[in-house]
Symmetry: D2
Subunit: 384 residues, 4 copies
């Protein structure tokens, strides 16, 4: 698939080091991945594949968004790839936030060990009902000034990466508006209540449910400016969403590769499954979906590289790509019959990884309503 030398190196790394380390022990064990990633990161670093998305001055490879699109797809063929190359969520968008809004001291304390892969982090925004889910105006977590610092109280939910994280970027309501705080997880006010078990089996650090109770932080825990927390969250969401699209395009391609190999080798009623027209049509539809998904993501990447807004395009890409990739993996699993339903193949696990992407980072229905309203409003003056 890949034809550029750098992509071949990513592919080799994934084939040689990541895929062979994929193992049942990782399934639904958020901490089991850490050990394997610790093995893989030095190899990725030696291969010159580490931290592709960060600028050189932060120890990264300085890839453009367009370059990243191809790299993240290749890395994403294994659930271990992006973590090994330290370009996985939620650390990737956290690094970008710290780089943009963090003070020199915050960068020294939090960004540096993150880029070096010594610690993990999480982003604590989502709240259980009736708090901030898809509607951020319902933010119930509060930060009140106490002494020179702040006291944070609230309930967070589906905090990906929370288990094993060293710090969290927490969104909380202040009198001046929503604000982001850096909270170290050994703060006695930060309590991981449980890992929420969800369909996706390989989230690094799982999905935590968190209680923030009398969680006191120093004045310099504020990330960026007080009151601009939502704005920062919005800014990080678009690239984060696109990076997901890139990584998961790789994952869906992997499922398709496995299904193609299966139908090429398996016979039924006297002929290879690959000779059946329904199989051919399903394979064709998978490639069409992958191709269109890539083009949607790449279009956004090029706009980001050009410094343009991708507000509308990234929402369209999120809806299309999340649904198209799910179709790809659903077909791949179907092509493999009973085997495709079993954990004897990664395909069934990838199917469960892909399904939540139609909800995480904004459910399709929410994006559709927002997009539809935006298009209709912008065409209100049309005389046609």
């Amino acid at each position: 698939m890949s034809t550029r030398p750098d992509l071949d190196r990513v592919r080799d790394f994934v084939e040689t080091h990541c895929i062979p380390r994929e193992a049942p022990v990782h399934v639904h064990d958020p901490l089991a991945l850490d050990q394997t990633l610790a093995e893989l990161r030095p190899i990725a670093r030696k291969a010159g594949l580490y931290l592709p998305q960060m600028p050189l001055e932060h120890g990264g490879l300085g890839l453009s968004w367009v370059e990243r699109a191809a790299w993240l797809e290749e890395a994403g063929r294994s659930y271990l790839g992006p973590g090994a190359m330290n370009c996985a969520a939620p650390d990737q968008p956290n690094m970008i936030s710290l780089m943009r809004h963090g003070s020199a001291a915050q960068q020294q304390t939090y960004l540096r060990p993150l880029t070096e892969g010594r610690i993990r982090s999480c982003f604590a925004m989502t709240e259980p009902a009736p708090g901030a889910g898809s509607d951020p105006s319902m933010l119930l977590t509060t930060a009140r000034r106490q002494g020179s610092g702040w006291r944070i109280d609230g309930h967070k939910w589906f905090i990906t990466g929370a288990l094993g994280a060293s710090f969290a970027i927490v969104l909380a309501q202040t009198q001046e508006g929503p604000t982001q705080f850096i909270v170290e997880t050994d703060n006695p006010g930060w309590k991981v209540q449980r890992a929420i078990r969800a369909l996706d089996p390989f989230a690094i650090g799982g999905h935590g449910e968190i209680m923030l109770e009398n969680c006191c932080v120093a004045p310099d825990a504020v990330l960026g400016e007080v009151g601009r927390g939502f704005e920062y969250a919005q800014q990080r969401l678009e690239p984060a969403r696109l990076s997901h699209c890139m990584r998961l395009t790789g994952r869906a391609r992997r499922a398709l590769e496995l299904a193609q190999s299966y139908v090429n080798h398996r016979h039924s009623f006297g002929q290879p499954l690959a000779d059946l027209q329904q199989v051919q049509a399903m394979v064709a539809d998978c490639h069409i979906d992958l191709h269109a998904s890539r083009l949607m993501t790449l279009d956004c990447a090029a706009r980001l590289d050009a410094g343009q807004s991708v507000k509308t395009e990234s929402a369209m890409a999120k809806v299309f790509v999340s649904e198209a990739l799910h179709r790809v993996v659903d077909r791949a699993a179907q092509l493999m019959g009973a085997r495709g339903m079993s954990e004897d193949t990664p395909v069934s696990l990838i199917l469960n990884e892909l399904r939540p992407f139609r909800i995480y980072d904004g459910a399709s229905e929410l994006h559709r309503a927002t997009l539809g309203r935006r298009f209709l409003q912008s065409s209100q003056g049309d005389k046609t």
Copy 2:
């Protein structure tokens, strides 16, 4: 939903006894269910709900197929319901096979403890590639006459219910053609190699991979006549498939009920989710899919009660119902957002239960090709 007194009793039993016993310990633990079912069966029996599908002379309630359709749907709202009422697969079709083809001695030894719920059984037909998957002509398991009895050798796969079963009905090739044998699982030639972990989390007795090696059985282990094993397998498949449709219609309805309750109570952007038109449309589509599914199944049930063939109708129902129910649960999960992806609700588990039904009992693609050929051949003489 149910409006008849007998169905209300089934519903009460499921609500009062089954749903409260649903528990995380059952997930992907094929034997954990047995204990809970052992608790539930006496309650079901006392409530007059036990063994609805069997005739009175075998201790059952003697329900017609049309009656069963409604009962199995109600029972199927919980994954514990059908097992509790002893109308779950694979014991249900095994009982029917033994009743039809078993000798008096076989019925005494195997059918009776099965109907009484003292033992479990399985049906060993499917083989891994290159053996009999969807194409039964590829049957590789052999039974050779040895002394007065038989020696069976082969490799079976995806044998639902194998773990904890007391006996298996095994399909094997003989010189006279495919034949069904009753094999007790303490036979040293029957080896359960492993439970295959698959998407569906609640198969009673899991999905076993089995080696039959020098598995010697007595002459009276043959079920029915030698050489008619495929014919019997075909006969059991149609009702088995329809019973799945009935039970899983209940499961999908449960997911929809949970989703409806969720959108009725959860607010976003200042209004209940239930007030959003996209939500209303998704709910409507779920009910339309459920209604059509029920009608497809009921139509077959009425034909079976009338002694008619359902060869074509049951294949159409299998394709439609398996796909429609999956759409229902996929929408239900989507309606519940992140919660719908978590195991905090049964909906995500039901989604994983429903997905394999598009493959088990004949993949949709296989049925479509067979149906299409049949319709085209029967219309070949048409002059239009």
Copy 3:
């Protein structure tokens, strides 16, 4: 397809008399059909197939709804069938309205010649924006008392059957509420401005745009009671909608029969198209859609025969059947390649006949929103 003697007679009539009379001159010429129907009606009468839906005392055959379902499907294989048997819209629901709500004099003057096939009629409810489209509360046509009678003014639109009709049942707003009036079309206040050309090519009497200007009618022009016009309109809509489902199921089946014959006889790349799996799958999906459509309609028919409400079931059937039949014909046309796009076959015309059914009698989106709200409200008390 049909297996009952009476249905065979309908089928023979359609094959022998209707299909051979289908002709290009009928396309988009609302009056051209009248002449052909005049030829066909005596034949239908002689064959004992005339007016199946009306009771014996009105000269009909007194068929139940369940019987009608099969008859109307058979008749509907040709666009000439239902008109020939005088069970086509809008005369069919108008006859039912007159039978239910008409005075003895009205029945003598209007119902009798209608049942005898001597005249045609129409139902004038829909108005162009901003009037009563799908939302009847926007009714702008008014009827004001003037002398002992009424004066009606308004603008009607998409009035099927208006061209060549002898009278119209007009819905107009009065001080006492919406009311139905019988207006003879030679009334100088009734002006057919034009036939609206729409996708469906074979509407008997076309779709008229009507101006009602100072249209004076006598006191006995009121149909039923003053102020109950909407209630009557609602009552007629459900059976009217179901009758459409029945007739159009026949039309879609005809398209499928033609496509099956095509793929059975046409070769490509060395084999009959019928041997290609994609073709087989498309044919299978057509039959599944037809089967499910029939069952949805039949279920409503049985409820109507039992005197039950079909408010919810008929709305579900309308959405499902209109969309399923459109899929059937879309696939049939696709199966026939370029020929399926041409008017060399009725299939392309049937495709254009079927498309508007997703809008006429209530757009799918409207039904979905209404159904969804209804289901959600009725489940509000659920504790699940």
Copy 4:
């Protein structure tokens, strides 16, 4: 929509000159368009918009493929646009064929008047069953050497542009293989039997059915080399297909613009249709489909500009774009209710224009089978 000055000029031309000239007289009258196009071409020429796709030396504007993509979309908003700018099928691909393979004399006689818009042409390849439809190996039209020239006999079908064409490029079988001939339509051996009436209402020159009987042509009627006719046909098909995608993207966008304006202005149940979430979601899906369609086409355009093969990518684009645009217009028509079904709006006509594109230039099913086989073969060595 367009933001570049040159595209604004195209848009102005279409809005000011083409759309106002759209008229019912053009519907299904292949020759009625000629007169209107004759009026429009001088205006297009004066506006510097004429012949965008041809190089400067042939009187064109020399646009690259990427530039053309945007121009053809803008031009395609009206069915009159591409013809007015002389970049419509089948003249556009015929000009490219003549430019590539034509002798200097052929270019003088045929290409020049074509580029100048003085004559029209057609491409005669497709044959009715059992001849060359989608399978070119079934070519039945023959060309036999006779004297120094050739005699052509055969039956052609669905020859777009045939009515009113001055010459045809005819594909016929010779002893040396399939060969392209230029046949002038006043040749007594060329007989247009009829215009085949098909769903698409605006084909310039209609779709002709042609008999070639003893059609004698001179030696210099051969286009390019004898025996390479299929190769040339393949070469023209890919760009021709992509140009269709570009033009029809414009047509679908026009339908969406009209639907957006409709729902912005029309009220139902007390609110603008634009406020309904189902409407917003349908509008969003239309934009997502249009965006993805554009990206698929643009990707091929960039490859063509870079001299790369687009064999696979253009087939994927054809399948995706033809289906996506049909969905867009189907939704647009649905959004407009009964009006969307009528010819009061161009939307219903555009719906009928778009439907055949899923068949013309290769049916979706054919492309899917070919693509699937190609992908499966190229992955046969994969070890995964």
